[in-house]
């Protein structure tokens, strides 16, 4: 077999570098938004109002019960159709569309937000009631106890799991190829189908993913260790 490694690296490399930028963009933005969304959902699920709790239980179950792939299709293709339909009035027909990347970020945010909300929820519930009561006894309000005592600890305790989600997220950006985000997989597919350097292309792709996720996973391990020592 005659493998053209250097040609593949030269041909595919620059494109993959651009892909890496897209992947990092999608991952970082989605991760930040998903963390915020997760915290909000977790708080709503711990709300004293039954209706709010109910709404978000249903939301989380829907998200967790459907594949990310389907969610991405739904947001990219179906949601604009629905919006256009809903917003059309009289003769005017709006033409709402999402860019592939923003639909991808929205999908990952919602999907990961639902999972992260469960992480936060259990981390919040895991904080000793005694600590909450000692906060209340000092004169803090319920909200202050939540903000100053419960949430800081819940966030800290969630860091290892969040780190795992971050690494998973980098890898899951490959799913964005299906809604035509030019991330790494799509670029590799295109290159491989044009040059027939299939083995080289996909091997390079796998290596790029490893280079992206392994150091991150390692950093997360170190952070986790540090937190174990402190507690």
């Amino acid at each position: 077999m005659d493998l053209k490694w250097s040609e593949a690296i030269e041909g595919l490399g620059p494109s993959l570098l651009q892909g890496v930028v897209v992947v990092l963009q999608a991952t970082i933005i989605s991760f930040i938004l998903a963390t915020i969304l997760g915290l909000l959902i977790a708080m709503c699920r711990l709300s004293k109002w039954k209706v709010i709790r109910g709404i978000f239980v249903v939301f989380v179950e829907i998200v967790r019960g459907t594949p990310l792939l389907v969610q991405l299709f739904y947001i990219y293709y179906v949601v604009p159709l629905l919006l256009n339909h809903l917003l059309s009035s009289g003769g005017t027909q709006p033409n709402i569309q999402f860019t592939a990347l923003s639909a991808g970020i929205a999908g990952m945010t919602i999907n990961y937000g639902a999972y992260i909300s469960e992480v936060f929820r259990s981390a919040i519930l895991a904080i000793d009631t005694g600590q909450k009561e000692s906060g209340l006894a000092l004169g803090f309000t319920q909200l202050q106890v939540l903000r100053k005592i419960v949430i800081p600890q819940a966030l800290r305790n969630s860091i290892p799991v969040l780190g795992n989600y971050l690494v998973m997220m980098i890898k899951d950006t490959s799913l964005l190829a299906v809604i035509s985000v030019s991330e790494l997989l799509l670029r590799t597919q295109t290159y491989a189908s044009q040059t027939f350097q299939t083995i080289e292309s996909y091997t390079i792709l796998a290596v790029v993913y490893l280079v992206l996720s392994l150091p991150l996973a390692h950093v997360m391990k170190m952070i986790e260790k540090k937190f174990h020592v402190e507690n």
């Binding site: 000793d128 005694g130 600590q131 009561e133 000692s134 906060g135 209340l136 006894a137 000092l138 004169g139 803090f140 309000t141 202050q144 100053k148 005592i149 800081p152 600890q153 800290r156 402190e230 507690n231």
Partner: protein, 247 residues
């Protein structure tokens, strides 16, 4: 501030139900400024519930609580503001494990009384000195012994400058050799004139420090008197039985 008698805390006919379970049965208690009241009694008699009703960690089912002449159950006085006047020390310490000792102490005054950092820390150091832990400001609670944790918890409560301190079995979770250091701090507080309501199994402490001892059983205050009366010459049969068991 309408009440004219000098009770700091005046509790009348306080009852508490948990569902069908009648845990406190029309309990009355007056505490004057500077008084130390010790509550003793068997397990499950309602001592903790009573104490927790005083600072409204439990909502009483009926009855009234007046603090410095103010009705604390009528909803006019915000519960969190009322609690800033009434400190509480728990059996399980419940320090904030993610904060160093100094920050455990300064957190409430800085947030709730808008004290600036320097002032709050200066006061925190004085309190640490008082509880004998001047060198522990910069460590996390996890590195402290139980007795040290409890003394930090006392300092933390004192940082809010409360007029009344509630203690719920502050030494019951401690190894016997650590009980003394906590009781010593409490005794000093009593001598300085702090008003205290103390649920305790330490009969020696109650006998020595209390102005008044209350014996609770089955949700009732069965007997109440000076330490001499309760320990020396208990009138009620149940008090005698209890004391015979624990002494």
């Amino acid at each position: 501030m309408s009440e004219t008698d000098q009770s700091m805390l005046k509790i009348t006919e306080l009852s508490k139900y948990y569902g069908e379970n009648h845990v406190l049965k029309k309990v009355n208690l007056n505490v004057k400024k500077g008084e130390v009241v010790c509550i003793i009694g068997p397990s499950g008699s309602g001592k903790s519930t009573f104490l927790r009703c005083i600072n409204l960690l439990e909502r009483p089912s009926s009855g009234s609580i007046f603090y410095q002449g103010n009705d604390v159950l009528d909803g006019k006085w915000k519960t969190n503001e009322y609690r800033q006047h009434v400190g509480m020390v728990f059996q399980g310490y419940y320090l904030f494990p993610f904060k160093k000792v100094l920050d455990n102490i300064t957190m409430a005054p800085r947030t709730l009384k808008n004290k600036d950092k320097a002032e709050a820390e200066k006061e925190a150091f004085e309190l640490l000195e008082k509880v004998g832990l001047a060198d522990k400001d910069n460590v996390y609670p996890a590195s402290l012994s139980g007795g040290q944790k409890q003394r930090v918890a006392i300092a933390r409560a004192l940082a809010m400058n409360p007029e009344l301190l509630l203690f719920d079995e502050p030494t019951s979770a401690l190894d016997p050799e650590l009980v003394g250091e906590v009781l010593r701090v409490m005794k000093e507080l009593a001598e300085e004139g702090m008003t205290m309501v103390v649920v305790t199994h330490e009969m020696g402490f109650a006998r020595e420090v209390a102005n008044r001892v209350i014996f609770m059983e089955g949700g009732y205050i069965v007997e109440e008197g000076t330490p001499e009366e309760i320990f020396g010459n208990p009138k009620n049969e149940r008090t005698r039985e209890f004391l015979a068991r624990v002494l």
